[in-house]
């Protein structure tokens, strides 16, 4: 009890307006001797903490033929260790008033709990335990395999838009594993077994392949002490392979796909271009592409919606999207959802025409000023949500970036010139690197 009361005292003091004004002041980082990275983000407004462990391993690190195993293993990490019975991890979090979950992406797998700040040690004790000690029954885990197949049914099979996305990604990447869905191809998921899951676990789950992120009402030295106590004793995996995936060859042929499904209510055309991602120490091109997506389609005053939705009324929705947070080459996308009476072929031509005009005219400077001011303001707004801050650092550090890169990013965005945006556009809009996809309503055939 003593420790709890002392902490509560600290909370009360910290409620006064001493909050740091920039994120840099709130972030501290360490590395444990076994190679585990630790990031602490202080936010003393609520006596709560989010505790996350991120592994530098996602679906794109899987072996060929066992797609979905990274995500399957994520589910299995809740199925017990030598010390914890199946389900007991989450029960314990819950019994302490917390919530927990996990998620898998191409480049990372992450586990998190949100609890009262004084439970941090318990969370670390359990999370450190399952980093090395899961204990699984060969037969029992088949039930969980059924669960991930139902998850695929729910997220993908029941939704033509998701099926379309899978087909586009598969066409986009000729060699890189981003062409394989995170949740896995169904025909491979149904054969996943204990050996597949354990092979992935033993290869990738170790402190020198992990990032600990703690955000909330904590002191950095206290987090470090707890991390050393719980994660420190876990030996590093000396056999951890260097993280190199099969890379893309030169893409030399435009790809065009049409996905038809009777459940499509609103056809659209979407094109994605292979695009560079944020690289450590080299983020300018990604910053220019980020601003390009904003200028072209980030809000209703952007170029594509203004022209196609508002002036010409030939689109229900038009936009552009890009996220530079990725370990390997990512994509820049444009989409046009045509208005009634406009065909997909016309919608594609409309999209291309507006982009060509934009490249001629250049960037509207007042629009760019608005976007940059909004980006500055987002640095204020984001301080209100320590969960999303924690996710940002975890995702960056598992996607090849450093904390310095994260902190430089807003400054780089502010420094990007209109010329750099146009140059980035001219480079990225190369049809040989692109997949153009039509999502159509399939005509129902009576037999």
């Amino acid at each position: 009890m003593r420790r709890f009361l002392a902490l509560a005292g600290v909370c009360l003091l910290a409620a006064a307006p001493l909050h740091a004004q920039t994120i840099e002041d709130q972030v501290t980082s360490f590395q444990l001797q076994n190679g585990m990275d630790v990031v602490v983000i202080e936010d003393n407004r609520v006596p709560a903490v989010v505790h996350m462990v991120w592994y530098r391993a996602g679906s794109a690190d899987e072996q060929v033929g066992v797609s979905g195993v990274a995500h399957f293993l994520e589910h299995l990490l809740f199925k017990g260790t030598e010390k914890l019975a199946p389900g007991e991890f989450s029960q314990t979090v819950k019994a302490n008033g917390g919530t927990d979950n996990a998620f898998t992406s191409y480049d990372y797998t992450a586990y998190f709990q949100r609890v009262a700040a004084d439970r941090l040690g318990l969370m670390m004790e359990m999370e450190a335990d399952r980093m090395k000690n899961i204990q699984l029954d060969r037969e029992d885990i088949l039930t969980e395999r059924d669960v991930i197949i139902e998850e695929r049914n729910q997220r993908v099979e029941n939704d033509p838009g998701s099926l379309f996305r899978e087909q586009r990604m598969a066409a986009q990447y000729l060699n890189h594993p981003y062409g394989t869905p995170i949740i896995g191809w169904r025909h491979e998921m149904v054969n996943l077994d204990l050996d597949d899951a354990l092979a992935y676990y033993q290869q990738f789950y170790s402190p020198n392949n992990a990032v600990l992120v703690v955000a909330g009402d904590v002191q950095p030295d206290e987090v470090l002490a707890l991390a050393q106590q719980h994660y420190g004793p876990i030996p590093r995996n000396e056999a951890l392979p260097e993280r190199v995936r099969p890379s893309e060859p030169p893409q030399m042929a435009e790809r065009r796909i049409t996905f038809s499904d009777p459940r499509v209510a609103q056809p659209y055309v979407m094109r994605t271009y292979l695009a560079p991602e944020r690289d450590s120490g080299d983020q300018r091109k990604a910053a220019a592409l980020t601003l390009l997506a904003e200028v072209l389609g980030g809000s209703q005053t952007a170029v594509m919606p203004q022209k196609l939705q508002f002036e010409e009324k030939r689109a229900v929705y038009a936009g552009a999207f890009y996220s530079g947070l990725s370990l390997d080459d990512t994509t820049f996308g444009v989409v046009n959802v045509p208005a009634e009476g406009v065909s997909l072929e016309e919608a594609e031509a409309d999209m291309d025409r507006v982009i060509a005009e934009f490249l001629e005219t250049g960037v509207d400077l007042t629009q760019l000023d608005r976007i940059k001011f909004q980006l500055r303001a987002s640095q204020v707004y984001e301080l209100d949500n320590s969960d999303s801050l924690a996710r940002r650092y975890g995702a960056a550090l598992t996607s090849g970036l450093t904390i310095d890169d994260v902190h430089e990013w807003p400054k780089i965005l502010q420094s990007i010139t209109p010329e750099e945006i146009i140059a980035a556009a001219e480079e990225v809009f190369d049809r040989e690197n692109a997949v153009t996809g039509f999502l159509r309503k399939a005509e129902e055939v009576t037999q």
Binding site: C11, L84, S90, T92, G97, G98, S299, Y317, R370
Partner: protein
């Protein structure tokens, strides 16, 4: 097991006293508008949440979709500013205004920087008080809403909700989609939107919550400017409606590999003295997390689904107890049987001492964690006012949970769980189920 055992016991002891430091100030403007505030100066912005009770249920006969369309047009130009200039002004202040609508309320979630607060509020005021409803914007937003209606008609998650609502509520506004139909949307005129605006956004039904870098005096001073020119009264609220169902299954055929089921029956209203007991009971039966009985039986033990949940839905004019599950077409029948069995079991036997203790620890421990940011706090403040709760509720709520006994749960389980009324609507190609 032993190692953790001792630690967990220690933590449980410490669980009770944790409390978020939430200090609510109630203010009333000279014009008589009330608002609740949590002042939090550490980050220089404000989250402001406005909610107008009534929402889409205020649609007049034959005008289904009017309130929804009106809400979608609030950001499409106001006063002297057309939609484009209005949007540019909002962006240049880095403010954001989200207008949303449900069965029972129109909600406005605003976020703005302290440094340009006055300009941001002037824009928000114009959007609320003098939206333009330009014909150009009406036509454009209508096309967007129709696009949503068509997409929803092909989405099993949505189809199941529509079918269930239709079955329960028939001609009451709850019985149809808030967007309306393609036909009803096409027929809406500018005058209909003006009428919907007058009817839905009135001072007699507005609730205000704010959190962030603003003082009670500032908030008090801006309320009349922001809302004072709205009409004093609006359209009368919709009538209450009885919910009655019978045990059974209704199948809506749709070609998808996984069936989606929505199930439920009558629920319990928010102001019922048994509401808290019902809330705790539902936490154990089908609330969030993997430990609930439905999740344990349907997912963990049998792998029949990715997720199964149940939830109380105390709407303004009806109270429901609902749940949701999705399973492959050849497995949904088994999932439904398991859910029925659990429903009956809990109705007859209630819960165990241990389940009740765990649920209490979770619910009381998790409560302070909800207050984690200005936006969520502003939301909670409005919700409390709409539920007619006093400000001190934030400090008494956990004690109310703690006071619930095993006997309370047993009595309330027998009262609110009605296996004989538990109806399932299933969208898909389910095997082994007959309507």
């Amino acid at each position: 097991m032993k190692v953790f055992g001792s630690l967990i016991a220690f933590m449980l002891l410490a669980a009770a006293p944790l409390r978020a430091e939430i200090d609510i100030t109630e203010v009333t403007s000279p014009g008589g508008i009330n608002a609740w505030l949590v002042q939090e100066e550490s980050i220089p912005f404000v989250a402001l949440e406005l909610r107008f009770k009534g929402g889409a249920s205020l649609d007049l006969p034959g005008k289904r979709g009017a309130t929804n369309l009106m809400t979608g047009l609030l950001e499409e130009g106001a006063g002297d500013l057309d939609s484009r200039v209005f949007a540019e002004r909002v962006e240049s202040l880095a403010a954001s205004f989200d207008f949303d609508i449900g069965d029972d309320a129109v909600s406005v979630s605003a976020r703005f920087l302290t440094e340009n607060q006055d300009e941001a509020l002037a824009l928000l005021r114009d959007a609320l008080i003098q939206p333009r409803f330009d014909q150009e914007a009406i036509d454009r937003v209508k096309a967007q809403v129709v696009s949503v209606v068509r997409r929803d008609a092909q989405d099993p998650d949505n189809i199941v909700g529509v079918a269930f609502d239709k079955m329960l509520f028939g001609d009451h506004p709850y019985g149809s989609s808030i967007e309306g139909t393609e036909e009803s949307i096409a027929a809406l005129t500018r005058d209909d939107l003006i009428a919907a605006h007058k009817g839905a956004l009135a001072r007699d039904r507005v609730y205000v919550g704010a959190a962030g870098d603003i003082s009670p005096e500032e908030l008090e001073g801006l309320l009349d400017t922001l809302l004072g020119e709205l009409p004093a009264t609006g359209t009368p609220q919709a009538a209450d409606v009885e919910v009655s169902t019978e045990a059974g299954v209704t199948v809506v055929p749709f070609d998808v590999p996984q069936s989606v089921a929505l199930f439920g029956h009558e629920g319990i209203s928010r102001d019922d003295p048994d509401f808290f007991s019902a809330y705790v009971l539902n936490e154990i039966l089908g609330g969030g997390g993997f430990e609930a009985r439905l999740m344990e039986e349907v997912r963990e033990k049998r792998g029949l689904t990715y997720g199964v949940y149940s939830y109380l839905v105390p709407k303004d004019n009806a109270a429901l107890y609902l749940g949701r599950v999705s399973s492959a077409n050849d497995r949904i029948a088994e999932a439904i049987q398991v859910i029925r069995d659990e429903w009956t079991k809990m109705a007859e036997n209630g819960v165990t001492e241990e389940e009740l203790a765990t649920a209490k620890t979770y619910l009381t421990g998790a409560y302070p964690l909800r207050f984690d940011g200005n936006g969520p706090i502003a939301n909670i403040l409005v919700g409390m006012q709409m539920d007619d709760l006093p400000a001190e509720y934030v400090n008494t709520r956990n004690a109310q949970i703690e006071a619930i006994t095993l006997e309370d749960i047993k009595r309330v389980a027998a009262r609110i769980l009605k296996p004989e009324a538990l109806h399932f609507v299933v969208v898909g190609q389910p095997e082994g189920l007959d309507s």
